[in-house]
């Protein structure tokens, strides 16, 4: 079979370059990370195998647990903020009201702006002396509400969460909107024939039809919350005193500030592990309900 042999060669030629770059830079390094995570290494001297010591030490480090807690805050506020708002926006926009194109455009806009830019803009909004927020409060005579939004540990994580939600709501909105537009007209017509209108129809017909999309958005939102880095790194750098540090920043600091590459690698493996665990829990819980 002449052609078969030739096509086999062609397949190899076609896939090889993509696979080499992809495996070499995106996949193999995960294995290398795992390997480094068992080492004590500053990147220059010799590597010393220390087994799980990095992990043991990390699990005993209060700063690490603080960063885990902050990740949980981002995860929970992200879920509470992005998904209901996104869903409500999509439900409203899907009713074909006047100006819905405008609202959709404006709603999605923050999604395309880089996290760094969002972070820099919110840095100005939260600025204690000259920021939009404190000035706005002063303008309405609410001076007592003014805060050091980013440096007061009571408010800093919340302030960051608001910026995070601001940036991503639009994405969930269009995800729900796409799903809503895929609901066949017959379903809506049948529901209306049965006398379901307005809120009832939304509650008993539309929302159940969105179930799988809802699950996808939840998993997506969770896995995204473990990846937050740019936003916080630029806004607060994880400070003051680690108060806004998340796992990615903990990893970055361990490796690139303190030059502990083995320890940093262990942190990166834990990030991977934590996000996989939470996602598989969500998957299991939702599957059991079906």
């Amino acid at each position: 079979m002449q052609t078969l042999k030739r096509s086999r060669f062609a397949i190899f030629i076609g896939l090889f370059p993509a696979l080499v770059i992809y495996l070499g830079i995106a996949i193999v390094p995960i294995g290398i990370s795992l390997y480094y995570s068992l080492m004590n290494w500053n990147g220059i001297g010799s590597m010393k195998f220390i087994g799980l010591d990095n992990y043991v030490q990390m699990l005993q480090d209060d700063t690490f647990w603080l960063s885990v807690k902050n990740n949980v805050i981002i995860m929970v506020t992200g879920l509470i903020g992005q998904i209901p708002i996104g869903l409500l926006m999509a439900l409203l926009l899907n009713r074909g009201m006047k100006g819905s194109g405008f609202f959709r455009t404006v709603g999605f806009m923050p999604v395309v702006i880089s996290s760094v830019m969002v972070s820099l803009i919110f840095g100005m909004v939260y600025n204690t002396e000259y920021g939009l927020l404190n000035n706005l409060l002063g303008f309405f005579g609410l001076e007592s509400w003014q805060q050091n939004w980013l440096s007061d540990s009571k408010w800093s994580m919340l302030s960051i969460s608001v910026a995070y939600i601001w940036q991503n709501c639009g994405l969930y909105m269009v995800m729900f909107l796409a799903a809503l537009q895929n609901i066949p007209d017959e379903v809506n017509e049948a529901a209306e024939l049965d006398g379901a209108t307005g809120f009832k129809k939304t509650r008993f017909i539309t929302i159940p039809m969105l179930r799988s999309t809802l699950m996808v958005t939840i998993v997506y939102s969770i896995s995204n919350s473990f990846r937050v880095f740019d936003l916080i790194q630029v806004l607060t750098g994880g400070g003051p005193a680690h108060q806004t540090e998340v796992m990615t920043i903990y990893m970055y600091n361990s490796a690139f500030m303190n030059l502990r590459y083995g320890y940093g690698s262990a942190a990166s493996i834990l990030i991977l592990l934590f996000s996989l665990i939470v996602i598989s829990i969500v998957n299991r819980v939702t599957r059991e309900k079906d």
Partner: protein, 276 residues
């Protein structure tokens, strides 16, 4: 369409407007203040500017090295994009149109990339680049950007190519075209709609990337826009209006890009998100 109750209408428009205002206000406030002098801004951050101080823009452009960052971002974004789309579409073609033993495995491997947080690979990539003496070069960013966006590229293009009817290639074979010829002259042209989505998506991701740039680029001459901006704002803490001008300059192209291509961008991002 049935009639809608006025109460519902009021509720709906109130909510939609609030949401829109929340989205616009921070940006609007920044743009307005970027036109003020520093004194004017600190006196009243809410007033409309008395005159348009375009001098802020000229100064920000100069002090912030914006031209350098823009050029670097453009170069890195486009080179990565071209390589990603070229290699990705070729891989997608073979995955979509041929059956071979390792097809399933290869395809799942490509998809796996969408699950992996880049942070899990950052340290090894840094050390690999260091070993190859690629730290602080364009290539040190082009390679990771290409690698990490191959997943989504292959995924979207493979799905699209798989939908083509089989006779497409048969006609090509009749005419004596080879596999690569068929790919280039038959498959690629009809993949254009999906290609547009992929290109736009890659552009946005590469243009906005920060973490790799932060770790792999050190010299000012090679910094990309997000990295340069973050750096500039960190240093230039004295003048807020100057910061705002620099941010507005960086914001304009991406907003224009979005307004022009929003449909494809939205479709692409939701497709990417749903499978990511």
């Amino acid at each position: 369409m049935k009639k809608k109750s006025p109460v519902f209408q009021i509720f709906a428009y109130t909510f939609l407007s609030l949401f829109a205002i929340m989205n616009i206000i921070p940006i609007f406030w920044m743009v307005i203040n970027s036109f003020k002098s520093e004194q004017e801004y600190s006196a009243d951050p809410f007033s409309m500017p008395t005159g348009l101080h375009f001098s802020n823009y000229a100064e920000a452009w100069r002090i912030a090295n914006m031209n350098v960052y823009f050029l670097n971002s453009l170069l890195i974004t486009f080179v990565s994009l071209i390589v990603t789309v070229l290699l990705g579409s070729l891989a997608a073609y073979f995955l979509a149109r041929f059956s071979f033993k390792l097809r399933g495995l290869t395809y799942s491997l490509f998809l796996l990339g969408m699950l992996v947080p880049i942070h899990a690979t950052l340290i090894p990539i840094f050390l690999i680049m260091q070993k190859l003496s690629l730290i602080d070069t364009y290539l040190s960013l082009i390679l990771p950007y290409t690698a990490f966006h191959l997943s989504l590229t292959v995924f979207i293009l493979e799905g699209f190519m798989r939908g083509f009817p089989k006779d497409l290639e048969e006609s090509g074979i009749m005419d004596g075209a080879g596999i690569f010829r068929i790919f280039w002259s038959i498959i690629l042209p009809i993949t254009r709609p999906a290609m547009a989505t992929v290109v736009i998506l890659n552009f946005i991701y590469n243009w906005n990337e920060y973490l790799f740039a932060l770790v792999l680029i050190t010299s000012n001459a090679l910094k990309t826009l997000p990295l340069g901006l973050a750096n500039f704002v960190g240093i230039e803490t004295a003048s807020y209006t100057l910061q705002m001008s620099a941010l507005t300059i960086a914001l304009i192209p991406i907003i224009v890009f979005y307004l022009l291509l929003q449909k494809q961008l939205v479709t692409g991002m939701t497709a990417g998100a749903v499978k990511g």
